[in-house]
């Protein structure tokens, strides 16, 4: 079923117009002369009914589990109206708003996204979005190099191991010196002392995560002070939901805030699409990568929106562009602004409070189990680390069989933490589910 409109009769008329007898003649005239491939490995097509049936069955081969997984991606509730809006085909079947007069819907929505994210992060400007949190780390690192003209990047190991891997992959051929600051195995904080000691006058930027990958919320005043002193930029990888409760990166004084916006109304979706965001103080606005929407007026003086500051971008600057990005995660940014509009500040705060309360409730029950200990004395939002009496890998595998995705075993990413488990609890988890996890773990241990 190839969704082709024209009939044989249409094609006959069209062939006459273009002066060919058939497709073979058309290809020859277009100078496509190689024989058509056999494509024997490809299957025959399906009807819509067969296709739906196939995927329905396939979706059931993904097990439903009760999620205590976080690690940068969170199982939050999503208001129904989010899908209603993003299912408007005027939004999802349009493309890049190159023609502003025919794209004011997308453009205004993205301006409102930029505004909402600026308010939530406490920063001045936000771009129209990036692919995901990991690519945002890379883009922020390059932006810091452009701003400071320095090449050394300090990154805490409490920044997501996924993001650090992506940063190293993306920057493999960039003249960027990446210094990773290790953590202390018995703690969950970023090892601020070591970060401060590493900052020097060659440092372009310091990247930390807030709350960090291990769930811990830290105080950054000394970091801000030291980076300012050394003319380096401070960059925070943030979790937007937590910012309803926590001091915003702008309030703290970070130069750039980046992160993953999946928590703002996007499904977990086996790995994407997600939403990278990048926000900065207005000083660095012309160094931002990617698309940006601005408000202006039309020739009659009426307010409206356009893509702006395009002199930074690849279609104008080609090899001198700030980035090679030529799109954004537009529908995901739309999702985020609709989500933030529906929750409002009060709703988001309520959600965030529940995350914090449920995580604390779970942590307190878990550490009462024999042999289970809390790791780190610090403050957490909705994610925390516990230490088990046995290897976390085995416990996780056994709990999966009981229907609980209990958390992320940390040993793979942090050698020495083989018994540690990173557990996230969102507002979606109920008391019954939390107690169920605790009981299941008790039975295993």
């Amino acid at each position: 079923m190839p969704y082709i409109a024209n009939t044989d009769a249409d094609r006959a008329e069209m062939f006459k117009v273009i002066g060919c007898r058939d497709f073979a003649g058309m290809w020859a005239a277009a100078q496509v002369n190689s024989p058509a491939p056999a494509l024997e490995g490809l299957p025959n097509g399906m009807s819509e009914a067969e296709l739906l049936e196939y995927f329905q069955q396939l979706s059931q081969r993904n097990a439903g589990v009760i999620n205590f997984l976080g690690g940068g991606f969170y199982d939050h509730l999503i208001p129904s109206a989010v899908d209603t809006v993003i299912s408007r085909s005027e939004f999802y079947t349009s493309y890049t708003p190159y023609q502003p007069e025919a794209s004011q819907g997308t453009l205004q929505a993205i301006y409102e996204y930029q505004s909402s994210m600026a308010r939530l992060t406490g920063m001045d400007v936000v771009n129209a979005s990036l692919y995901d949190g990991g690519s945002a780390v890379y883009e922020a690192a390059l932006m810091a190099m452009r701003v400071t003209r320095k090449k050394q990047l300090i990154i805490s190991e409490a920044v997501s191991p996924v993001y650090r891997t992506m940063l190293k992959s993306y920057a493999a051929n960039q003249p960027l010196e990446i210094i990773e600051i290790p953590l202390n195995v018995g703690d969950t904080d970023s090892n601020l002392k070591a970060i401060l000691a590493a900052i020097n006058d060659q440092t372009a930027a310091v990247i930390v995560q807030y709350p960090n990958f291990l769930g811990t919320v830290e105080v950054w005043d000394q970091l801000i002070e030291q980076t300012k002193k050394m003319k380096a930029l401070s960059i925070a990888v943030c979790y937007p939901t937590s910012l309803a409760l926590l001091r915003s990166p702008g309030e703290i004084g970070f130069d750039i805030a980046i992160g993953e916006g999946q928590c703002l109304g996007m499904a977990l979706n086996c790995g994407g699409p997600y939403l990278g965001f990048i926000a900065s103080s207005s000083n660095y606005m012309r160094k931002l990568p990617g698309r940006i929407v601005g408000r202006t007026v039309d020739k009659d003086g009426k307010s409206g929106f356009v893509l702006t500051l395009q002199a930074r971008e690849q279609h104008i600057r080609r090899e001198s562009a700030m980035s090679n990005i030529c799109s954004n995660e537009n529908l995901c940014a739309l999702t985020a602004v609709v989500y933030l509009t529906l929750t409002g500040e009060k709703g988001l705060t309520e959600i965030a409070e529940q995350n914090a309360a449920k995580a604390l409730f779970a942590r307190d029950l878990l550490v009462k189990l024999p042999g289970v200990k809390s790791v780190g004395k610090s403050v957490f939002f909705n994610e925390f680390v516990i230490e088990l009496p046995v290897a976390a890998d085995e416990v996780v595998a056994q709990l999966l069989e009981r229907g609980y995705a209990a958390g992320i075993p940390l040993g793979t990413h942090y050698p020495g933490r083989e018994k540690q488990l990173l557990i996230a609890v969102t507002e979606k988890r109920t008391r019954v589910e939390i107690i169920g996890l605790v009981k299941a773990l008790e039975e295993i241990l």
Partner: protein
Amino acid sequence: MKLIFDKGRDGRRAYRAPICDVPMASAIPDEMRRTISAQLPEVTELDAVRHFTNLSRKNFGVDSHFYPLGSCTMKYNPKSHETIARMAGFTDQHPWLGQLPGGEKLSQGTLETLYRQERFLSELLGFAETTLQPMAGANGEFTGVMLIAAYFKARGETQRTVMLIPDAAHGTNPASAIQAGFTCREVASDSEGNVDLDDLAAKLGDDVAGLMLTCPNTVGMFDRNVEKICAMVHDAGGLCYCDGANANAIIGRVRPGDLGFDVMHVNVHKTFSTPHGGGGPGAGPVGVVERLRAFLPVPRVVQGTDGSYTLESNHPQSIGKMAPFYGNFGVLIRSCAYMLMLGRVGMIRVSENAVLNANYLRVKLAPYYDQKITRMCMHECVFSATRQVVNGVHALDIAKALIDRGIHPPTIYFPLIIPEALMIEPTETESKETMDEFVDAMIEIAELAETDPVSLQDAPITMPVRRMDETQAARKPDLAAK
């Protein structure tokens, strides 16, 4: 239209969290709490839905308008694929689950979707293996050139630091090559957008890592020398990258791997019908020949002898991760559905009809607009508004006049090698009647360019806004509501 921040009033609510069934308490002390309000909107659910619904009505989309935007392949997005993408078994799956011990066997639905699509694309495009990780076309280009860089590094040919890029290339090609650490050297194109073979020969050398070539080219033509070009680059020790932005013209008819390309990205939001979403999310799978396989991003999905799927990360030469997990799964499941629905025979029907439609427009509009190239094109045809410019009507004016006639404009001012370019790509999903209406509108505009150019320079007049002051937007940036 008012901003959402200017609607509603304090105390209005659209969404509430469920009643909290644990004691309200938290580990966060007061001094770490936010003191400055985030000032998000306070509206009802109706306010929010009405606001965004009304915004959507200010957009042109494929479902509502003919959208012949050249090089963007704005084909119809089948609705069954939307249903599939929303199946809870997929949307609810946490990305970390597959990576947990014992998690793969609980993720077989995800892994089979990825595996089948990978195999389909590799066979369709003629490659040994395809990575689905890149999160957009430009991200795919970047991945592709990173693979080339890793290949030469592994061979110790570190002197190969130059990427050849035709002057007709999309801007993302040089930008991606730079991100991968290459310097760019431009290769001249002829008037059909084809590579100038003499200039290519002059630019090749042992410092050249490869050539990034769009096939069909950015002018919508199939370069008959493409096999010779690949051979020349190979003879000089380089690799050939195929920019698959225009793959809709060739799927099922030509396999770039057979032509001699070593690595290629495709934009699933173009060729494989996933919605463009107003500018993303997309996905940009990258196919490679055998010699580049070792460098592909990890994890890779493999099928065991028992038919089950697992993730494999033990590839020491891998370039690493281009996406946090497996790529934009929610996009890739739609393209997988499209491939399985169309199957082997459907693929060539797509390219045949896409090319036929473009040529139909090429011939029908030829009496009214100038063409640099008059022979059979591929999936898009390019005109030049040079005849209209004489009367002060530019490509931009023609574009705006089309908006007033309920048609999304073609791509304008690209390719750069054609002055006043109008690049038109109807795609295979549009009917002859729709194209005839477009032709009528274009003829009317061509006539107005002679008789009443001011009416075109004034367009659009039927839209919520008229032409925007882009200079002011850039000079005094207003990027967020205060």
